[in-house]
Symmetry: C2
Subunit: 354 residues, 2 copies
């Protein structure tokens, strides 16, 4: 059977609908994967709706993929049929530049190939993502899902997980560090879990007391209400590190002033023009503001291994493939705790019924 | 003789003119200094003209001070009469908070006392700076000028020097690092000298081929013309660190895109609202942008010792105290290579003639 099925957006304004396509024949080093679960990321919506003005249609999203290897090209050595594996936001890169060689394939100087909506390096064809029953990926971009890690709940680790794990570990978040997380969505909730697991004292910064309570259940030690002037003032120059997961542009000053000397705030959500920052806010306390993009393959594997060892998993709501459009609507209302994961059994049933 | 003379701005719109004041009596731990030289910093102009809207008049600027100890309070142990010493941007701080204890007095949680235009911690009187023949400072804020360091040329190290030394050493600029300096004024020229002395490959980024040539003479290995699109494009993702000394707000994107993975650009000049940064520019290559404020006392001493050992000194133009208003006018036209230093002998002659 070389026919695959997925759910794709036929155009910017249309809902996602079933889409049939030919499986890619195995090339050198390729691994064929039977997709079991795929997480639903905000980027999926941006691409389905052409909100980044670069979508190619049909657009088939999904880059939080967990599945089982069904076949490998004879030249592939890293994985074998039957292995539980995962694929994140990238499926290829040059593997020859200094960034690829250093394990930062997401910053490939020749441009990484994204899991969806990206030209295949060999054919130029538009890549199709994980909202599908099947995907073929070169072995270097296929991760091992460690034994004991729930495959369904592992799915969001491939984007929401690594996106938060990367800056937290880069900035040495751990015991003795005061760390804040701003925003409690798919990324924020993983930020809280990871920062707590790494041993930091974790504060959730939120406008909502309810979200504050939720964050405590996820592992936050303290809650700071950003609407409370006195609380915010009392927390000035307090944090070593702030993980900012707010997905839209916003004034950074209220958070920047909370950074202590040489503290850093890293943005992982607001990939758009930001309001003006005052130079004095950076000079004061020698502060830093930065960004972070997912993570390289070695770091992603390290994170998966850490999650298995420490039993750290996203909080997920499982949906059927057929519910994707409704899921998008709910995500836009922040009505999900904290990540939708598509169970691809639903798609396979649809295929068999057809 | 308890009377001192200095040059002060009597109001925001008046030129600096002679100003007589009483010397401060020595308090616990105080050191009295006969000022020999004082560098002229842009902050002096901002304060003299109330451009930061916080000036107290008469405003007597100057925070790049070198002189000789004339007397010490009996309780002072760090310096003795006859020592060549220096005073920078601070003359006091709480010395008890975590930042002071860590040697970062400039970030004192209770607010450092600046050398001029700042309330004295004990009397609340407005501090008067180094455009004077005399100053009294508590010993913890008095630096040693090592033997062999030219006292005149050492003066600008106390602000221009430490302001560039601090971020360069914080970000581990050294052999194997690609470092760029943007802007070639008092700070930029020290940035070039220090970065080269620390062993980095140093690129001057400038709009002017002439400034590029000047930078080569100061130690820069390469010149990048920011007006040359092709050169700028070819330098994308190249630099580990960029020291940005431009003293006014400007678009950061052309420089940010030059940062390689995890590279940082630190601003030391533009203490004002900055134009919007696109979040994607930070997320791409996991970039950082930050600020840096002078440096603590231990680091300032380390820098002075390094300069003495390696014979690194600012390029200066010596002026008489009476020339200060003309010097300000020339600074505003960037007509100085690279720092004016006032020879206080001129002031003492004026005092004696009076």
């Amino acid at each position: 059977m070389t026919q695959a099925i997925g759910y794709a957006a036929p155009s910017a304004n249309a809902p996602l609908a079933p889409f049939h396509f030919e499986r890619r024949a195995l090339r050198e080093g390729d691994v064929a994967i039977d997709i079991l679960y795929c997480g639903v990321c905000h980027s999926d919506i941006h691409t389905a709706r052409n909100e980044w003005h670069n979508s190619v249609y049909p657009a088939l999203p999904g880059h939080e993929i967990v599945g089982r290897v069904t076949a490998v090209h004879p030249s592939a050595t890293r994985h074998k049929a039957g292995d539980m594996v995962a694929v994140g936001c990238m499926v290829d890169s040059c593997l020859e530049c200094r960034e690829c060689k250093a394990g930062y394939e997401q910053h490939c100087l020749n441009g990484a190939t994204l899991t969806y909506n990206s030209p295949d390096r060999q054919t130029g064809e538009n890549t199709l993502g994980g909202y599908s029953d099947h995907i073929v990926v070169r072995e270097e971009f296929v991760l091992r899902v460690p034994d004991g890690l729930d495959p369904m709940r592992a799915a969001p680790l491939l984007c929401a997980g690594i996106t938060t794990w990367s800056p937290l570990t880069r900035f040495h978040v751990g015991p003795g560090k005061e760390v804040a997380v701003v925003g409690l969505g798919g990324l924020g909730h993983m930020g809280v879990k990871f920062a707590a697991a790494l041993g930091a004292n974790v504060t959730m910064i939120t406008t909502s007391p309810e979200k504050g309570e939720d964050a405590r259940h996820l592992g936050a030690h303290e809650v700071l209400l950003s609407t409370d002037r006195d609380q915010m003032k009392a927390s000035r120059s307090r944090f070593d590190f702030i993980l900012n997961t707010i997905p839209v542009a916003h004034d950074l000053h209220p958070y920047l002033q909370l950074l202590r000397r040489e503290g850093a705030m890293v943005l992982v959500g607001a990939i758009e023009p930001l309001p003006s920052i005052h130079g004095g806010m950076l000079v004061s306390n020698d502060r830093l503001v930065g960004g972070s993009a997912i993570g390289g393959i070695p770091l992603t594997q390290e994170m998966l291994d850490f999650c298995a060892e420490r039993n750290i998993l996203p909080d997920c709501e499982v949906i059927a493939m057929q519910d994707i459009n409704e899921a998008y609507a709910r995500m836009l209302k922040s009505d999900v705790k904290y990540r939708f994961v598509i169970d691809m059994a639903s798609l396979k049933q649809e295929k068999e019924a057809a």
